[in-house]
């Protein structure tokens, strides 16, 4: 058995009574697994809430089918060959919403920013200062566990809904390279959603109450992510601006890839830009956390 650090053991070892295992990769993985396991158990502690939360996500799609059905029939045509809005005909539109549902299942982070802010306000953040754990890593693993549990439960109803709506996918399944890009954009969407919201949560170190700020962010995210409508419906000027923002990667982008709406020659660049956004928010979140902790610990608690 080895001590945590040979150097510190010899320097401070006179006091040591307990031994610690070295922080090797297998042990790290074991720790990560344990964090995920605990987060999962906690999420499943309230089974009813979990089940309801999972199933209720499917309700909005029904509203969307009726709404866009009405819009297109008022245009006089709701067939696959009919009129297009922002490049989407009626079946495309329904397929788009089904796909944004999948994208949101990856990128949405309910309660993350608010949770961080409330942990700061209530002083629970202390445990991450006292114990040898990293807050951001801890939250990321917990969220990953919640998401995996959700996918596990939601796969069957998702498959069922997609099967019922298969008629709306006029082009069927996309070619392999688009599907790979689609999966990649989902994974990056998860990371982007996580680090974007975590960064907002860190603002809680400066302003204890962030709920109004969070509300504004949600509002923007709702419209600018393409959650409400395909972004190509926006006027030219607005679209140009929105294209420069990270929101579109949370819902619009993966759906548009799947439906073949992103030209092949633009796709690699778009994916690269998304990766840059992910990197940006990982760094932003880290910087805000370390500055926030300094402020917190310099300020009080």
């Amino acid at each position: 058995m080895q001590l945590a650090s040979e150097e510190s053991a010899s320097k401070h070892g006179v006091y040591t009574s307990g031994t610690h295992l070295p922080n090797t990769l297998p042990r790290r993985l074991m720790t990560w697994w344990m964090v995920m396991r605990i987060a999962l158990e906690e999420r499943l502690a309230y089974r009813g809430d979990f089940a309801l939360g999972t199933l209720m996500r499917f309700l909005p799609i029904i509203t969307q089918i009726f709404l866009w059905g009405a819009v297109f029939s008022s245009l006089g045509d709701d067939s696959a060959t009919g009129k297009k809005l922002g490049g989407y005909n009626f079946p495309d539109m329904v397929a788009y919403f089904l796909l944004t549902m999948i994208a949101r299942a990856f990128s949405s982070m309910p309660g993350l920013a608010g949770g961080i802010a409330s942990q700061i306000r209530q002083g629970e953040i202390k445990r991450y200062l006292i114990q040898p754990v990293d807050l951001v890593g801890f939250l990321l693993l917990s969220r990953l566990a919640h998401k995996l549990a959700y996918y596990f439960v939601a796969t069957v109803p998702f498959a069922f809904v997609f099967f019922l709506c298969r008629g709306y996918f006029a082009d069927g399944f996309p070619p392999a390279h688009l599907f790979v890009a689609f999966v990649g954009s989902l994974v990056m969407g998860f990371l982007l959603g996580f680090f974007l919201e975590a960064t907002i949560g860190m603002i809680g170190f400066w302003f204890l109450e962030v709920s109004s700020l969070l509300f504004i962010f949600m509002l923007f995210s709702f419209f600018l992510s393409g959650h409400m409508f395909p972004l190509t419906l926006l006027p030219e000027g607005v679209l140009t601006v929105v294209n420069f923002l990270p929101f579109k990667y949370l819902a619009y982008f993966p759906a548009a890839i799947f439906l073949g709406k992103i030209p092949d020659d633009e796709l690699p660049m778009e994916l690269a830009i998304e990766a840059v956004w992910v990197a940006f928010f990982i760094i932003a979140c880290r910087v805000m956390y370390s500055r926030g902790v300094k402020r917190y610990s310099g300020y009080g608690g």
């Binding site: 401070h12 031994t19 605990i38 002083g123 114990q131 040898p132 754990v133």
Partner: protein, 326 residues
Amino acid sequence: MPPIIDVRELTKSYRVHKKREGLMESVRGLFHREYSDVQAVRGINLQVEQGEFVAFLGPNGAGKTTTLKLLSGVINPTSGHATVMGFTPWERKNEYRRRFALVMGQKNQLWWDLPAQESYLLHQQIYGVPPDQFTATLNELTELLDVTKLLGQPVRELSLGERMKMELIAALLHSPDVLFLDEPTIGLDVIAQHNIQQFLRYYQEKRKITVLLTSHYMKDVAALCKRVVIVAGGLVQYDGSLAGIIDKFSGNKIVTLQFGIADRPSDLSRLGTLLDTNWPKVRISIARAEIPRVLAEALRDYTIEDVSVEDPPLEDVIADLFHQVA
């Protein structure tokens, strides 16, 4: 060997937003904020040797909890130095964080909706406790605290006393060398308090760990700590034994006289400060130096059947002391 805890001229002041009363003042506060500095700790010096069990006493807001927060690295000081086991706490090195624990009676670290056992498994991973050591420690602690049966029950269903025991186990699983306890028995009934005291005494004596405890219960302190540090107004006011507090801070003793006469003399107050009269029994507070003279006088002038001389109760002395500092 240097002291395991070495605190020198440590100060901590908080900047607080001055909020005035009333709506208009609140609106004004949106645009123009006034801040003031609150000095929670004004220059604490403290050296603790390995294996000591030290009590921190002091009125609310005296700086006890702030000092514990500084020593556990939750906050950074305004000035001064401190080392614990050779580490500067607010650098928050993992090597340091693996070797101490902080238990706060009013906060919980366990996962609320899960059995304590799950939190312990997570702690095992976080602190890197070898499996055999983990099992042995957990068995020992749960048996000592008599909570083996409660391990599988969600923490939210436990009573306050049971939860506190679970918190203590969580803090001790990684066998810390230094333990900070912030009011561990707050809100507990007498039996639960007693259980936790006994446990802490046994564990500390056996492992020879260093413990710093804050508490408002004199019984905790009397049962556990040979050394008492009184903090008030952000400074160390006293550092020594519990009994020494009385010698140092109380110049008086309590004299109880049992009179053998039916009528109460009217001039009793010349003897000292009358505390209470339950004729024929009278309790008087008398300056220590005056006692031989006053007693001789009393025995000469009145018929007295019984005399007792005692130290004032510790709680009273400490309450007076807190009062003076405040």
